[in-house]
């Protein structure tokens, strides 16, 4: 695969994962001659337009017909093609949910699914476009792994890794620029948690674009409050790295989960389920609290839902001080 002309991703710089997704698909087009890409009239937004322009004969524009698109991808995969299907996460997992389940997951079709515009950042589009339950939906579907990269570097590595995982995969990407936190050659290890910041006093388990925020929070906690906070990134939400969760439970006794998703059925619930079965401890879930999201500036909205960096800091401080514990 020719990666000579790749965009350099330096730590601290921010890039929109959707752009990295589109650029990586183009690279993969060369490595995988059986790769075909399908989009539903949002290619200019999800950046599959880059693949369309590079490989017009392997790009299928299905129009605003998400259910049909997923069905077509399933059909193509039965003939040995590897479809990468891309549209907004909200429509991919709900409008086309039946096709995802019955034509992709059940037969373990080798179809890769990109849920773009995951979570809150939708460019002020509001509730109809804010996919706050896609992780929950996809986790519940048998055979369906769920990958939620943290930053541009991991997004690139995850898109490549997805091609190596046999069968269906759900990849969730976001619209807004996210700062690079990993060194450029950091690999993506499917199903493995990653300790990205160590500390003895408290632990955050986070996923997706919340991991860079959690990392920032950990920095502040150390500097301003002397609270040494570990951050464990779950790039794979399913299958969950249960060993890492058990270890965190035993070491800290109280876990804070942070995700750009509803607290129902997402990372927080996955972690809570794992500890309750194997190593009970308290789990505090930071995410959207069973609400539809509003339109607005991304950062203003994260604050509105209690999920900005300072709010993460506050939650960790409460946990470190042993507050909120039921006697």
């Amino acid at each position: 695969m020719s990666t000579a002309n790749r965009r350099r991703l330096s730590i601290g710089e921010a890039f929109a994962p959707r752009l990295i997704f589109g650029e990586t698909l183009v690279e993969l087009g060369e490595a995988y001659p059986r790769l075909v890409v399908l989009d539903a009239d949002v290619g200019a937004s999800t950046q599959t337009a880059l693949f369309r322009d590079a490989y017009p004969n392997r790009f299928y524009q299905i129009g605003i017909a998400e259910a049909n698109m997923v069905g077509i991808a399933a059909g193509l995969s039965t003939q040995g093609w590897i479809p990468f299907v891309s549209t907004f996460a909200i429509f991919l997992t709900k409008r086309a949910g039946d096709q995802v389940r019955n034509t992709i997951a059940y037969p373990r079709a080798n179809v890769k699914l990109n849920g773009a515009y995951g979570g809150l950042p939708t460019g002020r589009a509001g509730a109809s476009h804010s996919s706050i339950e896609d992780i929950a939906v996809m986790r519940a579907v048998p055979h369906m792994p769920v990958i939620v990269p943290a930053d541009p570097v991991e997004t690139r590595a995850a898109v490549e890794a997805v091609m190596r995982i046999p069968g269906p995969v759900y990849l969730r990407t976001v619209r807004c620029p996210v700062p690079v936190i990993f060194g450029e050659h950091e690999p993506f290890e499917f199903g493995k948690a990653k300790l990205i910041h160590d500390g003895d006093d408290a632990v955050i388990i986070s996923t997706g674009m919340m991991t860079p925020k959690a990392l920032q929070a950990a920095g502040k906690l150390g500097k301003q409050y002397g609270i040494r906070t570990a951050v464990i990134h779950m790039g794979t939400v399913k299958p969950l790295d249960i060993e890492a969760v058990i270890a965190a439970s035993e070491r800290y006794g109280h876990i804070l989960t942070v995700e750009n998703h509803s607290v129902i059925g997402g990372l927080g619930d996955a972690v809570a389920a794992a500890v309750s079965e194997h190593a009970p401890c308290r789990v505090t879930k930071l995410g959207f609290q069973d609400v539809f999201l509003e339109s607005g500036d991304d950062e203003a909205l994260f604050s509105r839902y209690g999920m900005n960096v300072d709010q993460i800091v506050e939650r960790v401080r409460e946990i470190a001080q042993g507050k909120g514990r039921r006697e």
């Binding site: 009239d41 290619g43 605003i64 017909a65 259910a67 049909n68 409008r95 002020r124 509003e294 339109s295």
Partner: protein, 281 residues
């Protein structure tokens, strides 16, 4: 003769109103620095005719049970809906400045009950049309006299649910339902007929047992005439296929894909307002 003159007067009035609507559209999207100008402008004449001539509504009584119902199925074009509702008096014009802002009643895609005059949540394409069918079924069921109107995008007709809704409207004899198809031949990624060829749209709807009227969606006399005929038509649901220009009224936006979902900057706003002023006779 007399009737002819009053219609001419109405058309003249509506043409002026449509300019005000367009001005509010570009101003609010500029203010928000976010939103969909192209499809709002292409639907501006249709929406103005509906809100300032056809719909039986009362801005002081948005919940009036006998009101005509309206659903903007192509929900992303809500700036045109919000502009009409504000100019009609459902809420203050100043509210338009809050489009897509934190805690505004003017969400990026309309939510039922958030703003006065909005009865259905839309934004996911195709879901408005079914809701309009449901409302029209209700009117039949309760023998209510209200009409139901909906505006669809041409890209929106790619969705299977549009055709499911069309079939059910025939089944339930919904001659109280009028759909307008904003045929601007552009969608998000490019030219509609290239993205997914849907022609012949008129024959498709006829085959679904709808009555079809085709017009130029920017000729106000035609728009009003078609809407009146559609309202009075009995026996079948009616679809008006309105040929339009995406971005209509703003020179640099007309027929340009890139203006589907992008706000104008300060300079572009000034040009847009100049273009729209120039169109004032």
């Amino acid at each position: 003769m007399e009737q002819q003159r009053t219609i001419q007067k109405r058309v003249r009035y509506l043409e002026e109103k449509a300019k005000e609507v367009r001005v509010e559209i570009v101003k609010m999207i500029h203010e928000a620095q976010s939103g969909h100008p192209g499809g709002s402008l292409s639907a501006a004449d249709i929406m103005t005719a509906l809100y300032f001539d056809i719909l039986r509504i009362d801005p002081n009584k948005p919940e009036w049970p006998d009101r005509d119902r309206f659903v903007l199925s192509k929900g992303h074009a809500c700036p045109v809906w919000y502009a009409c509702l504000a100019l009609k008096g459902f809420f203050p014009i100043e509210t338009l400045k809050t489009l897509r802002k934190f805690e505004s009643k003017l969400q990026g895609h309309p939510i039922a009950g958030k703003a006065e005059g909005i009865d259905a949540s839309v934004g996911s394409l195709g879901i408005g049309f079914s809701q309009a069918v449901g409302m029209a079924i209700e009117a039949k069921m309760t023998r209510s006299k209200y009409m139901v109107y909906t505006v669809l995008g041409d890209g929106e007709t790619n969705e299977g649910i549009v055709w499911e809704a069309a079939a059910s409207a025939h089944k339930y004899h919904l001659d109280n339902l009028v759909a307008v198809l904003d045929r601007n031949n552009l969608q998000n990624d490019g030219i509609a007929e290239q993205i997914m060829p849907m022609e012949p749209l008129d024959e498709k709807f006829k085959a679904f047992n709808w009555h079809v009227i085709q017009i130029n969606g920017h000729n106000m006399a035609d728009v009003v005439d078609a809407l009146m005929k559609a309202r009075d038509y009995s026996g079948k649901p009616v679809i008006i296929i309105a040929n339009t220009v995406k971005g209509k009224g703003v020179s640099y936006m007309e027929n340009v894909r890139g203006w589907h979902g992008k706000p104008p900057n300060d300079e572009q706003l000034a040009i847009a307002l100049e273009d729209l002023k120039g169109s004032l006779k």
